[in-house]
Symmetry: C2
Subunit: 310 residues, 2 copies
């Protein structure tokens, strides 16, 4: 019987083993560090695995990430070189991120911060209502996740553009791509949402230069990885008034340290890395489907390009 | 030359006369109380017109409301009996309401009140993420406005039902209708949004009985008219914990009096009747189109049924 090794120190006591076992009854699910005979392990399902957990698995056929982002794997010094890495593509994960992006876009679009402040002061005052077609939204990252958010925003009538490594075709979404088009993309984005993967190319991409390239009064939603944002540059841009507001779900250090200035900044909304939470049951179904594909010799869904790192 | 009389004491100094004149260059736009020769007036465009402003207009062919709701007209003792009343149907108005409903549905669906409270306490804690298909949304009022909000929520994957006077057919939206089905509709609505017209049948429809029929922990969004809500019943339901949160855009008395308990209630979000603001330019285009229809003998769009009062 083929065995699967679940390796996620932070989730070892949760429902994952049960969810995986239920989705693939013909496979034995083991939970690291109880790997048993390592020669049995054909599949690893991982989230931030300790380096030594991936060592000496001679029959490993695939490593599945519990998240869409796999940046953490490339810091693992024992990552096997010849085994496919598979990122999670799961409709439930996409749904959650789309909800998060839509909610915060609407929050800025409809001046909800200002209305909340008015309520605290018992002020009854109408603010302008901009038509969605006159509101420019920019989505950084137009893959499965960003593409869905962009499409849903376009359905609501927003003027949506996306930026990605290569050109994309999405109905009603203007595609910008590559370094050359980044400034033009930023210059038209009143509300910017970043859902990029974290790679050597995107690390620190939200910095003083790119923030300055946004229109004055722009708002930023950062829901990809903390490593995208140069945190002191964001604080400076907020304090100068160039950036009007920021919603941050991801941080350099998580949990966000209690003494971090983001917690109490009046223009920052902090959420605890919950823009989209992987659902063990839906995700296990996706892993099971990919394992079936391996067994039947079909192409895997979500294979990571090690060069691009996503 | 036919003349149009614009009657809105609260807007007389704004852009409305210009917007109307621009949309219908062949019609003379007059602003009440400067009616000139009343025999010239063929059209009235109104918002809360004083009773005497509608008197003695012998050649009046239609009264156009600046809002989708026309409840205020039925309190006007001088309302001409034989002139069509036309409510505003405007894509911009619908867009605004859909944005408002979506935003607040997502707010409750994703526990944003709780995350905001956690931020104030610098608490990093993940809350459950419910799939939209497992979240039941109820929309009271499935006409042009409520139907659009329901359809967009269904596109996001929510489990959506609507309640209206008569049965409606909308893809992916379950239709409940009439008094008999109200309790069944309420019983499955974890998040309820009311965008009904205000009529003798719907006045006070959000009361202790209907709030009690919602599931425990339900949230309520009231964006139709203040007259739908029995305010003390809402406060009691919030204070008992049966209702977890309420977003209110409309009130019995507007502006909401500074001493009103809603302003400071921890479970209530107050907005100043801005869920959707009529846009003078898009609305004038709709009025101009209807005037063209009258002149060409075509059917008007949005004629009010005086029996139903909407």
């Amino acid at each position: 019987m083929a065995a699967l090794l679940f390796i996620s120190p932070q989730d070892a006591s949760g429902v994952w083993p049960e969810a995986l076992a239920r989705a693939m009854p013909a496979i034995e699910v083991r939970v690291w560090p109880e790997a048993g005979d390592r020669a049995d392990i054909e599949y690893a399902v991982v989230w931030k695995p300790p380096a030594d957990s991936l060592r000496a698995l001679p029959n490993l056929r695939a490593i599945f990430s519990l998240g869409a982002g796999v940046d953490y794997l490339f810091t693992n010094t024992e990552l096997p070189e010849d085994v496919p890495l598979v990122r999670l593509i799961d409709p439930a994960l996409t749904e959650g991120m789309t909800e998060y992006v839509l909610y915060h876009v609407l929050h800025y679009h409809r001046y909800m911060c200002e209305y909340q402040a008015q309520q605290r002061q018992r002020v009854w005052r109408e603010l302008p209502q901009v038509r969605p077609g006159d509101r420019t939204i920019g989505i950084m990252g137009l893959g499965v996740i960003g593409g869905d958010a962009a499409a849903k925003l376009a359905l609501l009538g927003f003027s949506v553009a996306g930026w990605s490594r290569s050109a994309k075709r999405l109905p009603q979404v203007r595609s910008f791509f590559g370094c050359d088009q980044l400034d033009a993309f930023l210059g038209r984005s009143e509300i910017l949402a970043c859902v990029l993967p974290l790679t050597p190319e995107t690390e620190g991409i939200l910095n003083k230069d790119t923030l300055a390239a946004l229109p004055r009064g722009a708002c930023v939603i950062s829901a990809g990885r903390g490593g995208h944002m140069i945190e002191e540059d964001l604080l400076a841009a907020l304090d100068s008034g160039h950036i009007a507001g920021a919603t941050l779900d991801v941080f350099h250090s998580e949990p966000l340290p209690v003494e971090h200035p983001f917690w109490t900044h009046p223009k920052i909304t902090v959420t605890p890395h919950v823009a989209s939470i992987t659902n063990p049951f839906t995700a296990s179904t996706q892993v099971a489907d990919n394992i079936r594909r391996i067994q039947q010799g079909e192409a895997l869904i979500g294979v990571v390009d090690r060069q691009r790192r996503y």
